[in-house]
Assembly symmetry: C2
Homo-oligomer: 326 residues x 2
Amino acid sequence: MTWSLERPIRVAVLGAGGLGRAACRLISAKRELQLTAICDSKSALASPEGLDSRSLGAGAGELGASRCDDPIGAVLGHAAWFDALLVTLPNMPNEFIPGVVGRAIDAAPGVVCVDVLKRTRAVELMYELEAGAKRTQSVVLTGCGATPGLLSAAAVLAAQSFIEVERVDIWWGVGIANWEAYKATIREDIAHLPGYTVERAKAMTDADVDALLERTNGLLELRHMEHADDVLLERVGVVQSQDQVEVGGVMDTRHPKKPVSTTMTLTGITLDGKRASHRFILGDDTTMAANVLGPALGYLKRGIWMKQHGLCGVFGSTEFLPMVVR
Amino acid sequence: MTWSLERPIRVAVLGAGGLGRAACRLISAKRELQLTAICDSKSALASPEGLDSRSLGAGAGELGASRCDDPIGAVLGHAAWFDALLVTLPNMPNEFIPGVVGRAIDAAPGVVCVDVLKRTRAVELMYELEAGAKRTQSVVLTGCGATPGLLSAAAVLAAQSFIEVERVDIWWGVGIANWEAYKATIREDIAHLPGYTVERAKAMTDADVDALLERTNGLLELRHMEHADDVLLERVGVVQSQDQVEVGGVMDTRHPKKPVSTTMTLTGITLDGKRASHRFILGDDTTMAANVLGPALGYLKRGIWMKQHGLCGVFGSTEFLPMVVR
């Protein structure tokens, strides 16, 4: 197989928070990609000639565009200007992004949609778009960030050496110097804390978040997270049951250094009856944004490849290798 | 995507040395696979109802079948009895397995062929089969063992976090209690030693190998190995140049414990300009056979999937995720 792009992939980014803006910078650095549309919750920007990521307004939620009532609709109205959609919107409630993607495949039939969803329930809802994706000849790739995404795909590789997989343990570390650049991401994580829900976390003011972090010295330690690595690994047969997958981690909201090294450990039994573990360990100097968005864009290119090869529908990050985007 | 097999994949194994026999045991343990043919250098066995791996003769090179002049031809003559070919023959000289696979796609058009080739030159020769594979609607998956294979696919994943990949370093450890069970594998490794060639290693008697190992206390340390991880990673754009990939390792021929942990380390630069390394580390208690043959069978199932989806040609292990074989 020697497959190469005939022209850059035109990408629309939905969501202009910390992740969305980092995605725009990464897209600018890739000659195979071109940013042609972006929106936040209040406004949208689009151009068939491409947008300069440096021209986007500097503040979170401030794109430097005039306000509109339906920014997502404004982007989807320019379906002829993009080949692929990268969804970096916060996903609260769980139904939100599946609803947006459902709308996208109707408004832009044939589109390639990639999300970096984290929650199991959200990814399950994405799979319900299968009939619509097939009908509209669209490709939906779901759970394509770091975890699920990079680490769950690594688990598929690791599983190959074993006759039976016992457990997949994902333990992540994230360090951010200033959580205010990732206001939505941090609320999605807080939603995993005991006593919190997606709704309660979403309703927190910045002062509420500050008060919570003051009590924890800036650290959030999360265990038994409802992360879609479980459903994605179950669907491809790496595990028989979702409770064989455990996701947790530590976020330091006051220092960019990771408090622990992000590690996927797969433990299984070999044909010889021995128990062993393969590990995939991310370098501490790679940021959460790099580990989420690099894979997302790699899957986006894979999605374009799939579309060109007539493969449509909803696919998880555990079903394909992402491609390298130059 | 929910794809499942309608019936077991019928597999022919070419080569009945240490790896070939271990492949038969692994195939027996998988309900999605059925062994229907096998050959060594002197004889062939085939049955449309399937072979019991326990009934294969116990000694290396002794299948318990009557001798024939062309055992590979005897297997290929029963093309209707298998869907896929796993090639575990020793590859000396480099042209040997590419020649066998070229013969297989002509004799069994539509077949899925998987090899566990190691040398760069051999994999380059496999890619020359592209036109023949497309013409015969066959799928050829090459370099699908541990390295290249499992570890080079892990490098494709690891590359996703970086804007530029500087190096891929693969350092493997293999421990075998008795090298005589892997007579061909060990000669392929000896061929990488300074002063040796594929031809010189192939010509060594067992006494020559013993004498060499006596001088090294049973250890073989190999550096700058000509391993096809380089061409496979260059083809998908993980590296720009093959000399960014370095493969080496240590084989202990007298102890089953690995002398070093097999590790793939990918070092790159992130969008933020930081240098970091992702690592994929295999559990010490997984054998060389498990790490070579598990991935090979996972790619074999992927090959059947590709065939069913109309994707024919020659593909490297860095282009797809292997599938989980139940």
